[in-house]
C-alpha cells in the first residue's frame, strides 16, 4: 500500500467519523498512520490519566476539537472524594502550547477552575465551543472570562455542573458585538442572571437555536425571549412558574404558537399543574421532552401533554407518570427511542411510581426503543422476558430497582432469568446496569451472550468470585466495569490480569478485594495504575502497618501509558 497516493488516503479517511475507525486504520501501516494523524481533527481521550496531554497534542498537531473525560462514573453518585483529581489545567496548558488553533473543548467529570477558563478564553482565537458536563471547581467568574474573551463563541453548554454563584454579571460580559451564539445552556446555574441582558443577547444572535435557561429565569423573561427567538429548536424553559389565569400566561401561549421549529423542550423547574397548556401548540413537533425536573406535575397533566407528542423520540420523566401514563406513552409515541424514568421521591413510600407493568407496556408499544433508564420499586422476571422479546434493539439498558437485593415479588426468585433474557435477545447491547436480587447465574448469562457489551454497572449482586470471572472471560468488548457492594475478591481480580489492559477502567468498591490483591495486580501489570482510595481517618501512608489482608474499600484500576499520576492527593495510593 505504500504506493498509494497520500491525498487519496486522506480523502477516504475524511469519511471515517468514528474514533475507533480512525484508530483502526492508523494501525494498518506506517503510511496510513502518518496520513491519519495529520488529518485527525477530533480527538477523544476517554481517561485523562491514560496518556499525557503532550503526547496527544504531539501526535495530532491538526487537532481542532478535544474531548476529555476525568473522574470515574461513580463520582456522579458521590463515591469519589472531592479532590480525587481529573484536572483540566494540564490539558489546557498543553493545547495552548501545541494546538493554538483549538476550536472546541468538551470536558466531562473534570475539575475546571476559573483560572483555567480564563486561560482558555484568552489563548485560542478561533475558539467556538465549550461543553462542560458534570464538572466542578469554577464559578460565574470563569464564565465571565469566557464571555468576555471568546469572540465568535458559538456554543456554551453547561450540563449538570457544580458552579459557584458569584453574581449575575457574567452574562453582561458578552460583548454587544457578539452575535454568533448558536447554543447557550446555563440550566445548571443556581444564581440569577440579569433579565434585560439575557433578552438583548438572545435578540442579537440570529443563529441561536438551542437555549436552556436556569431555574431563576422568570416566565416574564421567558416570554420576551421566546417572542424574540421564534426559530429556537431546543428550549429549556427556566422556572415556568406561572398562574394560568394571568395575562402573562396568555402571552406565553401566543409566543409558543409562533415557534414552528421547536422540537426539544426541557426545564419546567417550578411548573405547576394546568400551566402546561401553553406548550400544547408545539407538542406535535416535539422529538425530545424532558419533564424530569418538574415534580409538581402529576400524571394527568403529563398524560394530556404526551398524548399530543406523536413524534417523540426521547422522553425523560419522573415516576409520578405512573404505569397509566406509560401506557399512554406506549400508545402515542411510536417513534420513541430513549426513555428515562427517574424517581420523584426516594425518601417517601413510593406511593406513586412505576412498576414492571409500565415497562412492559412501553416495550410492546414502542418497537424502536433502544435506550432505557428505569427506576422502579419492583421488577419481575416475566416482565423482563417479555420486554426482551418485544425490544431486541436495546443498546443501553439500565434498570435500577431502588431496594437492593430485591427479588421478583411474584415468584421470590432472583432476577437472573430476566436479565439473562435481555442479554440473549439484545445482541447489540453496549451498556447494562443491573439491580435487584442476582446470583452468579446472571453473570454467566452476561458472559455468554453480551458480546457487544462495553459498559457494565453492578451493585449488590452475585454470590462469589465466579460471577466476576464470567464477566471478564465472556465480555470481549468490555471497556468499563464498575462494581460496588459485591462479594468479589482477590481470586476474581487476579484471575485474568491481562484483561484489564483491554479495558479502559475497573472500579470496585465495598467488595472483598484486599490490599494484598491490589498490590499483586499492580506488580504483575506495570501498565495499569492501581489506585486505592482510602478515606479512613488518620492513615495517609501506605507503609504504616496496614496489613495486606485489609480490604481495599475503593479501588480504581485503569490502563495507562503515562505511568502513575503525579497529582494524586494523599488519600489516593497508587500501588
Amino acid at each position: 500500500m505504500t504506493y498509494f497516493p497520500e491525498e487519496v488516503v486522506e480523502h477516504i479517511f475524511d469519511f471515517l467519523g468514528s474514533h475507533r475507525d480512525r484508530n483502526a486504520v492508523s494501525t494498518v501501516c506506517k503510511a496510513w498512520y502518518h496520513v491519519e494523524r495529520f488529518s485527525r481533527r477530533n480527538v477523544f481521550v476517554g481517561n485523562c490519566y491514560a496518556i499525557r496531554p503532550e503526547r496527544v497534542m504531539a501526535r495530532f498537531p491538526g487537532m481542532k476539537s478535544l474531548s476529555v473525560k476525568g473522574k470515574p462514573h461513580f463520582a456522579d453518585y458521590n463515591l469519589v472524594p472531592y479532590d480525587w483529581g481529573g484536572f483540566a489545567l494540564p490539558w489546557i496548558n498543553a493545547a495552548v502550547r501545541r494546538c493554538p488553533g483549538l476550536e472546541d473543548l468538551r470536558l466531562k467529570r473534570m475539575v475546571v477552575t476559573d483560572d483555567d477558563l480564563d486561560l482558555l478564553a484568552r489563548s485560542f482565537p478561533n475558539f467556538r465551543s465549550l461543553v462542560l458536563v458534570s464538572c466542578e471547581g469554577f464559578s460565574t467568574d470563569g464564565l465571565a472570562a469566557i464571555a468576555t474573551y471568546c469572540r465568535g463563541l458559538r456554543e456554551l453548554d453547561l450540563q449538570e455542573n457544580e458552579v459557584e454563584d458569584h453574581g449575575r454579571q457574567w452574562l453582561s460580559c458578552f460583548h454587544e458585538s457578539c452575535t454568533s451564539l448558536v447554543s447557550l445552556n446555563f440550566a445548571c446555574l443556581k444564581g440569577e442572571v440579569n433579565a434585560g441582558v439575557l433578552e438583548r443577547l438572545v435578540a442579537r444572535c440570529p443563529n441561536l437555536r438551542s437555549l436552556k435557561l436556569n431555574r431563576a429565569v422568570s416566565v416574564e423573561s421567558l416570554n420576551e425571549i421566546v417572542a424574540r427567538a421564534p426559530y429556537l429548536v431546543d428550549l429549556g424553559t427556566g422556572s415556568f412558574a406561572v398562574d394560568h389565569h394571568t395575562d402573562a400566561y396568555q402571552r406565553l401561549m401566543n409566543s409558543f404558537s409562533k415557534c414552528k421549529s421547536l422540537s426539544s423542550l426541557s426545564g419546567f423547574w417550578e411548573a405547576s399543574p394546568h400551566c402546561l397548556d401553553a406548550v400544547y401548540p408545539v407538542c406535535i413537533n416535539l422529538t425530545v421532552l424532558n419533564m424530569s425536573y418538574a415534580p409538581a406535575i402529576q400524571a394527568d397533566d403529563l398524560i394530556k401533554l404526551i398524548s399530543l407528542c406523536f413524534k417523540l423520540q426521547k422522553l425523560w420523566v419522573l415516576d409520578c407518570i405512573g404505569d397509566k401514563g406509560l401506557a399512554v406513552v406506549a400508545s402515542t409515541c411510536k417513534e420513541l427511542q430513549e426513555l428515562r424514568v427517574f424517581p420523584s421521591d426516594i425518601y417517601g413510600a413510593g406511593a406513586t411510581s412505576v412498576t414492571e407493568e409500565g415497562l412492559v407496556a412501553i416495550s410492546s408499544g414502542c418497537p424502536k426503543l433502544n435506550s432505557l433508564l428505569y427506576f422502579c420499586y419492583q421488577m419481575t422476571n416475566a416482565a423482563l422476558i417479555t420486554v426482551a422479546k418485544n425490544c431486541p434493539h436495546f443498546t443501553r439498558f439500565r434498570l435500577c430497582i431502588l431496594d437492593p437485593w430485591k427479588p421478583d415479588p411474584v415468584t421470590n426468585q432472583p432476577l437472573d432469568e430476566g436479565f439473562g433474557a435481555i442479554v440473549r435477545s439484545c445482541k447489540n447491547l453496549r451498556r447494562l446496569s443491573l439491580s435487584g436480587l442476582l446470583t452468579d447465574q446472571v453473570f454467566l448469562y452476561i458472559g455468554l451472550y453480551a458480546k457487544c457489551l462495553e459498559m457494565l454497572s453492578i451493585a449488590f449482586a452475585g454470590d462469589s468470585d465466579k460471577g466476576m470471572v464470567y464477566i471478564l472471560k465472556g465480555c470481549k468488548n468490555l471497556r468499563k466495569l464498575e462494581i460496588r457492594d459485591c462479594p468479589f475478591g482477590d481470586f476474581a481480580l487476579l484471575n485474568d490480569v491481562a484483561k484489564y489492559e483491554t479495558m479502559r477502567s475497573l472500579w470496585m468498591s465495598s467488595c472483598d478485594v484486599t490490599l494484598g490483591g491490589c498490590k499483586a495486580l499492580a506488580a504483575k501489570m506495570p501498565r495499569l495504575n492501581v489506585e486505592i482510595i482510602n478515606e479512613s481517618e488518620g492513615s495517609d501512608k501506605l507503609e504504616e502497618n496496614i496489613s495486606d489482608l485489609h480490604k481495599a474499600e475503593k479501588m480504581y484500576v485503569y490502563r495507562t501509558v503515562a505511568g502513575p499520576r503525579n497529582d494524586a492527593p494523599d488519600f489516593v495510593w497508587t500501588l
Binding site: V8, S26, E54, Y347, G350, V410, N412, K466, K524, R527
Partner: protein, 400 residues
C-alpha cells in the same frame, strides 16, 4: 501532480480489488470505501496471540472452526492465550522511558527511528504497527483486538463441563444456587451490614414469602413496612445525581417530603425554620410593611412581592381603584434596574445603604437589615450622602 477524483477512484478500484480480492460495484464511492476500509481493518487485525508467526487469515479460519465449541472451551483457550502475558502488541515498545522522552527531545523522526528494531516483529504479524505511535495505538486500539477475536457461538451453558464445574449444576439446580445465595446473604447480615433487608431475609425462602407478600397484579410497589421503613442511608444509592435527590424538596409541591421521611420530623423542621422578617418602606407612603425573606429564593420573586405589598397602598394614595391603576403598576417595573421610577435599596448589617441585586441572593439574605423602595431621583442624593461619608472615611484614614 494532483490527480482528478475520477482518476483516484479508478486507481482505488484497482488497488482494492487486488488487495482485498473484491469485485466492486461500479458506483462504489469514497464513502463506501471508507466503511469498507474500516470494516476490513477491524476484521483483519490479529487478536492478541503469543504466536508471532500466525497470519490473520489463519486466525480467522481458526475462529470459524471454533464456532461450535462451548463457552467453557473458549474460556480455556483464552486463559492459555492470555496466560498472564501482555498481548503481543505492547511488547513492541522496547523501552518505555526512552519512548516517553523521544517526542519532546527532537520531534517525530526520533520516535520513528527508535522503534525500527520492532519492524521485523511487525512484519511477521503481517498487519503490523507503524513506528511512531505504537504506544498510543496500543492504548487506543486494544479494543480492536478483543473485537476481532473468535466469534464463538455458544450452546446451552449446561451442555459441557469446563473450567467451572458448577456450570452443569447451575442449569439443573437454580434452587440450590439460590439457597446458597441466601445463605451468603445471611452471613453478610451477620457481618454487620446495615441494610435493613438483611434481617428479613435471614433464614431462607419461607421468610421471604411472608415478607414480600405483594400479590400479583397489585398496582403499587411493595410497600410492606418491613422492606422500606426509613432505610439507612447507603452512600451513593440510589444511583442518582445529587440535584435529583433534592428535587421534590425544593419544589412548589404541596406535600414536601423531607429527608427523614417522617411527619413528626417535618413539623419539627418547620417550627425550627425561622422567618426573616424585615421592614420595608416606600417613598411617599407613610405606612411601612414587613416582608419575610425566607419565603423567596431570588430577587425576581422579592420584586414581585414588593409590588404586591405596596400596589394597593400606592393606588390608595393616588385615589384610584386598585385593579385599574396601570400607573401604579408601572411604578414597580424595573425595581432592580435603577432605570425606572423606583429602585429597591437596602441597609446592610454595617449600616450602609446598598442597591438590591448585586450580590448572590444567599449573601443578601444574610446581611440585609431593612429594605426601602426609593424614588430613583433620590438615588443621586443618596449617592452624594454616601460619597460624603466615603470622603470623611478617607480623610480619617489618611490622618492616621
Amino acid at each position: 501532480e494532483k490527480r482528478s477524483v475520477g482518476e483516484k477512484r479508478s486507481l482505488f478500484h484497482d488497488l482494492l480489488s487486488g488487495f482485498f480480492g473484491l469485485i466492486l460495484p461500479p458506483r462504489f464511492g469514497f464513502e463506501d470505501l471508507a466503511s469498507l476500509v474500516a470494516g476490513a481493518t477491524r476484521a483483519f487485525l490479529p487478536p492478541p496471540s503469543s504466536d508471532p508467526t500466525s497470519r490473520p487469515g489463519t486466525r480467522v479460519q481458526e475462529a470459524a472452526g471454533r464456532s461450535s465449541s462451548t463457552f467453557e472451551l473458549a474460556m480455556e483457550e483464552d486463559l492459555e492465550n492470555r496466560g498472564g502475558a501482555c498481548p503481543q502488541l505492547l511488547d513492541l515498545i522496547p523501552n518505555e522511558s526512552d519512548w516517553m522522552m523521544a517526542p519532546e527531545a527532537s520531534g517525530e523522526g526520533r520516535g520513528v527511528g527508535g522503534l525500527d528494531d520492532s519492524e521485523d516483529k511487525k512484519l511477521e504479524l503481517k498487519l503490523g504497527l507503524p513506528g511512531g505511535g505504537a504506544e498510543e495505538a496500543a492504548v487506543l486500539s486494544l479494543g480492536f483486538f478483543s473485537k476481532a477475536s473468535k466469534t464463538t457461538t455458544t450452546t446451552c451453558a449446561g451442555a459441557r463441563r469446563g473450567l467451572f464445574e458448577s456450570a452443569e449444576s447451575k442449569s439443573e439446580g437454580p434452587r440450590q444456587e439460590q439457597q446458597a445465595g441466601f445463605l451468603q446473604l445471611q452471613s453478610r447480615a451477620e457481618s454487620g451490614n446495615e441494610w435493613p433487608h438483611k434481617a428479613v431475609w435471614a433464614g431462607g425462602k419461607a421468610d421471604l414469602q411472608q415478607s414480600h407478600a405483594a400479590p400479583g397484579g397489585a398496582a403499587g410497589p411493595n410497600t410492606s413496612s418491613q422492606t422500606r421503613a426509613a432505610p439507612a442511608p447507603v452512600v451513593g444509592w440510589p444511583p442518582l445525581r445529587s440535584f435529583r435527590k433534592n428535587l421534590s424538596n425544593s419544589s412548589v409541591k404541596p406535600s414536601v417530603e423531607l429527608q427523614n421521611d417522617n411527619v413528626e420530623m417535618k413539623q419539627k423542621f418547620d417550627n425550627n425554620k425561622k422567618g426573616l422578617l424585615v421592614k420595608i418602606n416606600m417613598d411617599g407612603i407613610p405606612i411601612g410593611r414587613k416582608v419575610d425573606l425566607k419565603t423567596y429564593d431570588n430577587y425576581e420573586k422579592l420584586s414581585l412581592a414588593v409590588k404586591e405589598l405596596f400596589l394597593g397602598l400606592l393606588a390608595a394614595q393616588k385615589d384610584t381603584p386598585e385593579n385599574e391603576n396601570e400607573e401604579a403598576k408601572q411604578a414597580f417595573v424595573g425595581l432592580l434596574d435603577g432605570s425606572r421610577e423606583y429602585t429597591l435599596v437596602y441597609e446592610d448589617n454595617e449600616g450602609d445603604k446598598m442597591l438590591v441585586g448585586d450580590v448572590p441572593w444567599d449573601m443578601f439574605v444574610s446581611t440585609v437589615k431593612r429594605l426601602r423602595v426609593l424614588k430613583s431621583s433620590d438615588l443621586a442624593a443618596l449617592r452624594e450622602q454616601s460619597a460624603g461619608k466615603e470622603q470623611q472615611l478617607k480623610v480619617e484614614l489618611n490622618e492616621k
